[in-house]
């Protein structure tokens, strides 16, 4: 450890972020454009198309009889193609959740300025097999009142605003 520190002290030049950003030292900047297109596939494709209609669809495995949400073409437990499509409800229960103080880009939220912490959670969907759920936001609820097993219902965007995306559901809100 001591040797390493000595070596660093004798050869390294410490730079601050300002020195680099203000151009006091020379640097090369580059921003590669990493574009991608992800194929939805038949299962997620139909799932997203049904969301546009305001419905949530799952798929059933004929062997283990699990009703799986999000739907998939292949049962990962039985190693067989899945069977029929099953509509499930847009209600469910909170399986797990977090109260987050940073946004998706890891930027700190202005909590003191009145911004509500984000509360993504896994919602076990009613009609699907226990334990099967989707990740979504929880809304219209005090972040600190969320609890495991809390009953929730999807809040949908108006039909004309839906695009066939998971965000066609705005969030899940608690119900009595």
């Amino acid at each position: 450890m001591e040797i390493t520190e000595k070596m660093v002290a004798s050869t390294a030049t410490k730079l601050s972020a300002e020195e680099i950003l203000e151009g006091k030292v020379l640097s090369v900047k580059w921003e590669p454009k990493l574009k991608y297109a992800w194929d939805n596939g038949p299962a997620i494709g139909r799932y997203l198309a049904e969301l546009k209609n305001g419905k949530i669809i799952a798929k059933k495995c004929d062997k283990c009889h699990r009703i799986m949400i999000p739907p998939r073409m292949f049962c990962e437990l039985c190693w067989v193609p899945t069977g029929e499509w099953v509509y499930v409800k847009d209600t469910g229960i909170v399986n797990t959740w977090i109260v987050g103080y940073v946004d998706w880009k890891a930027k700190r939220l202005d909590i003191k300025g009145g911004v509500r912490p984000i509360t993504p959670g896994i919602i076990e969907i009613d009609g699907a097999t226990k334990g099967m759920g989707i990740l979504h936001h929880l809304g219209e609820v005090d972040p600190w009142k969320i609890h495991r097993g809390m009953k929730v219902k999807a809040v949908w965007k108006p039909p004309e605003e839906r695009t066939g995306s998971i965000t066609d559901i705005k969030y899940f809100k608690p119900i009595k």
Binding site: V28, K29, K33, L34, N40, P42, P81, T82, K105
Partner: protein, 158 residues
């Protein structure tokens, strides 16, 4: 069964687009700092190892053969050299067709053991040959910003 479900129209196939944000800043380092500051002045710098009789271009902070410190023995090496190897490029970095192909070469700087990768200009591809004497064509002084691109290209010595 599910696996024999088939799309009838290609337009039914959905996809999700995105872009991964990524950027980087690479600092040129101690040797690079000196090298590129000199390029602003229109000069090229090398690092000389007296023991090994090697002049590195671009300069290094230490000798790669004997590990001697070279930071105090930087020397000006002039802007002339010879074509060591060359090729012609028809595509840009991202694989797009170029309107006019460019000639890329390794230029061995005269009197040194090093070289620079750069473009060749003011010359036809057919006229380029290995060993051809070339010199650096710099940008106008006001446009230089301490980059290898402060040299526009290398051109044949008249």
């Amino acid at each position: 069964m599910a696996l024999i479900e088939r799309y009838q129209k290609t337009t039914d196939i959905g996809y999700w687009e995105g872009q991964i944000p990524m950027s980087y800043i690479y600092t040129v380092g101690r040797a690079g700092e000196k090298f590129f500051r000199e390029i602003i002045a229109g000069k090229l710098l090398g690092a000389k190892c007296d023991t090994c009789k090697i002049i590195y271009v671009p300069p290094r902070t230490y000798c790669e053969k004997c590990f001697a410190r070279l930071e105090d023995s930087y020397v000006e090496v002039g802007t002339k050299g010879t074509v060591h190897t060359f090729t012609q490029c028809y595509e840009t970095f991202d694989g797009m067709k170029k309107e006019t192909p460019s000639i890329v070469a390794v230029i061995r700087i005269d009197g040194t053991n090093g070289g620079l990768v750069h473009w060749l200009g003011e010359v036809d591809f057919e006229k380029v040959s290995i060993g051809m004497p070339v010199e650096a064509a710099f940008k106008p002084k006001k446009d230089r910003e301490g980059s290898i691109l402060d040299i526009k290209y290398f051109k044949p010595v008249k």
